[in-house]
Symmetry: C2
Subunit: 503 residues, 2 copies
């Protein structure tokens, strides 16, 4: 691969040029064959793998994250591109739906109506600090947008600038080598460019992962445009964990071990970090400290991602600790490599002061809440704001039904005897929940993320030759479709190969 | 049926009580069996049909609309409820997706993840003036929300208050007789209550059909809440019609006949009214007037829906007519029953003044634009704002490909040799387009409208007995699902009965 000079848009005028060029590229790919789009995604995946060593080394220098973590994240990011390529071939994101004309339709004769999802256009993607591969340059949002048939303008995150620029060069080169139009993917940098991106009339959606304050400001900006655009923002989440009495009695030690590992993973800088743990009040402070302290001694600690994150983490942690009724079970430290903090309180305190449950401490800190009766838990759950995840630890003898209903009302993913950190990329994944977890009812992880960057268009009575290919009667691309209300399975495809009848 | 006294919420406090009661009702139906939900919808449909004569008479008095039109609209509204009941039984809106645990998953071992759409909670629905059945009390938005498992607070439209109150009584009674929880559906009235509805923390989404100004104000309000909520608003649309040269040459007379009928249907008070017609410049003013005038003589004219609508229609029409280069081909009138207006201009005028193409005249008025070359049309199309529909009239010899691409970029439904008024309720229907046609990329007509009032929740590693029924391995409700990436067809159901393999 030859070295390239990556153009980076920084002024409003730069962004205008970049958006116009990206729009032209979008027009070239909007109706292309699935195989072309899939090849583009797999080419980028292959390029990431080919440059893994170089990128992991750059990532380490930029973020303080361990090589094994970065290697795993790069593998996941490349896998995601390959999985999305398969999804494009299967045609699921198109949601192709055909209603043939029907003279006997119950409300009066029905014309021939056929609907397919089309790409939105140019999409703006903001890189996140905490996942320099998976939620950054060519992470979930960029992969979704490219899989949908959109062009991407990516806003580089300053927390891993060197890695981001090199990744963007590799992506740009891989796209070029796969025969993609120029400017299908490009990058911008800085606040002026970011605001110009959200404001630009050719930009039709935004993907964002970051803080609640920053995300809300951009959501407001996107919603206030003359033409408002969807803002797919992942903002903040506490990710409560509820331990039921029987599970606590039979395996409190292993639960606390898992908890300590989960809330310190990546130095607590995961959007799915478990920030509050509800446990029965059968353990004293000394009991809890006696189990947790040695476990935290095993945690792999490092500096936080950026000085800014370190500062806001300290503020949030201190604010939580200062609440009446909250004590520092394990105080942690303010060192450059901070020791983890565990706060402790009781259910009566948080029931009277629910704001304690709304405070995200983005870093290695968490809150343990002791409750008296499991019947309190559904009521405590609904005191929380919207969440990416909620986890329940329970044994067979525990009655979890009403708690499951309650957390279904506040969260996007419900886990059983597991920890929320670690989000698999699959067909059924949901990474998004009620506000402020996300600003829309969509997912930013998994194949369903692709649909965010499309919109449906119906075609009425068009001749077959004029229809978009996925809607033509012969189904030349062999995509899954719904026809006259019946789900019709595509034939002989890799992932969507076998249509079987369940009964 | 016994007479009931319908409670109507008018103060902020009333709305708070109504929202809390509705939320309790929602909790009762959120996870109910599909058959219960479907029975509720069909019970309401049957009640509408049983009271058709009474309701049509009330509607006539309130709206000046003809009995045949109102009868057809009531039939459509009841059909929609029955179709949604079938969709609930088929389980399509659940989008149930199952990924079994997979130790060999490409990015690392995959847990068992299962996703299903759950209802949002309480939904606020604003009645529209122009469809007193289909987009009002128990129209598309209310039917979608109930089919999703939500509770509904409906804001009565003052333009047909008597009809709305009586419809709400009939709906309330039918819901009670079908065994539904109290307060699953209730009504509010007036501006104070409307604002309280949009603001209430238990209200989780809004459905709206109305003006761009009013809709945008409510969209801003919903987006500015501490917890922003989705605002599904249908605001304004011009619905351009493009006539290609061969079609014009072979059948200009029948095209103008269809146009005259379509833009005066319902006195032009349809969101899909064709507001602009692009034709070749082969006809003189006299030619056009000679064809259109007699056709308009056949139009069934009536008063407009409300005095307010009459006033804003007059303003918009006069503003359009006052543009330089726009002439009144057929001037119309300002009578209580206004005669239809046809304005005329040329493509060079609108290309230089695209704002002429952005002005919706909600009533019996339309604009004819003469063009010189069909190659102008894609460029003219993209000068327009977002549209519900765009129509193309073409013969085999016309080249429509680039125009179809262009209108796909601006519209939600593309018609061929047809007129946009008349929107069938079906699986593939799309009634919604880029802003300001709608405020989101969704549809307010057809079965896909149900999904607007749900959000996805994933369950990770739950025991089968704890899973929501649609995700349990044995599929007790026999709903369509996607399993490990494969689309799986449900067995032996009415609409989703036959799974066939296409190839």
């Amino acid at each position: 691969m030859t070295a390239i000079t990556l153009p980076i848009a920084v002024t409003t005028e730069d962004v205008d040029h970049a958006a116009r060029a990206a729009h032209q590229a979008f027009l070239h790919v909007a109706t292309e064959a699935p195989s072309l789009r899939a090849n583009r995604l797999t080419a980028v995946a292959a390029a990431l793998r080919a440059h893994a060593d170089e990128l992991v080394e750059l990532g380490q220098a930029d973020t303080h994250l361990a090589p094994a973590r970065l290697q795993g994240e790069l593998k996941r990011t490349a896998f995601q591109l390959d999985l999305f390529a398969e999804e494009v071939i299967a045609g699921i994101p198109l949601d192709a739906t055909i209603d043939h004309a029907d003279a006997d339709w119950g409300m009066g004769p029905r014309p021939d109506i056929r609907r397919v999802n089309v790409p939105l256009g140019v999409v703006g993607v903001f890189g996140a600090s905490n996942f320099p591969f998976a939620f950054s340059v060519i992470g979930g949002d960029s992969a979704s947008a490219l899989a949908a048939g959109c062009a991407v303008l990516h806003k580089i995150h300053g927390g891993h600038r060197t890695l981001a620029v090199r990744t963007a060069e590799i992506v740009t080169e891989a796209l070029r080598e796969s025969g993609s139009p120029d400017h299908l993917f490009s990058v911008i940098e800085g606040r002026t460019a970011a605001e110009a991106l959200v404001d630009h009339s050719l930009v039709k959606a935004i993907g964002f992962t970051g803080s609640t304050a920053g995300g809300r400001a951009l959501f407001n900006r996107a919603s206030s445009r003359p033409e408002p655009i969807p803002f797919y923002g992942e903002l903040g989440s506490i990710n409560p964990v509820f331990v039921l009495p029987q599970a606590w009695e039979s395996r409190s030690q292993s639960i606390l071990t898992g908890y300590a590992a989960s809330f310190t993973a990546g130095m607590g800088q995961f959007c799915t970090k478990p920030g509050v743990l509800f446990v029965p009040d059968t353990y004293s402070e000394e009991d809890l400290r006696g189990v947790l302290e040695p476990e935290l001694g095993h945690a792999a600690l490092s500096e936080l991602l950026t000085p800014g994150l370190r500062e806001s983490f300290g503020h949030a942690r201190d604010e939580a600790a200062a609440h009446d009724g909250v004590t520092a079970l394990i105080p942690g430290s303010d060192d450059l490599v901070p020791a983890p903090t565990v706060l402790l309180t009781d259910s009566t305190v948080v029931a009277a002061n629910p704001e304690i449950l709304h405070l995200e401490m983005f870093g290695p800190a968490t809150l343990v809440v002791r409750y008296q009766q499991p019947e309190e838990l559904p009521g405590l759950a609904v005191l929380m704001e919207g969440q990416l995840t909620a986890s329940i630890h329970a044994d067979d003898a525990d009655d979890a039904a009403s708690l499951i209903d309650a957390v279904t009302g506040i969260a996007g993913r419900v886990l059983w005897n597991g920890w929320p950190t670690g989000v698999t990329v699959s067909y059924a994944q949901q990474h998004g929940g009620p506000y402020p977890a996300t600003t829309s009812h969509t997912t930013s992880v998994g194949t369903a993320a692709i649909g965010r960057f499309t919109r449906p268009v119906a075609y009425q009575d068009l001749p077959d030759r004029e229809l978009p290919v996925p809607l033509q009667e012969a189904n030349p691309w062999n995509v899954a479709r719904r026809v006259d209300g019946n789900v019709v399975v595509a034939q002989s495809q890799s992932q969507s190969q076998s249509g079987s009848v369940e009964g």
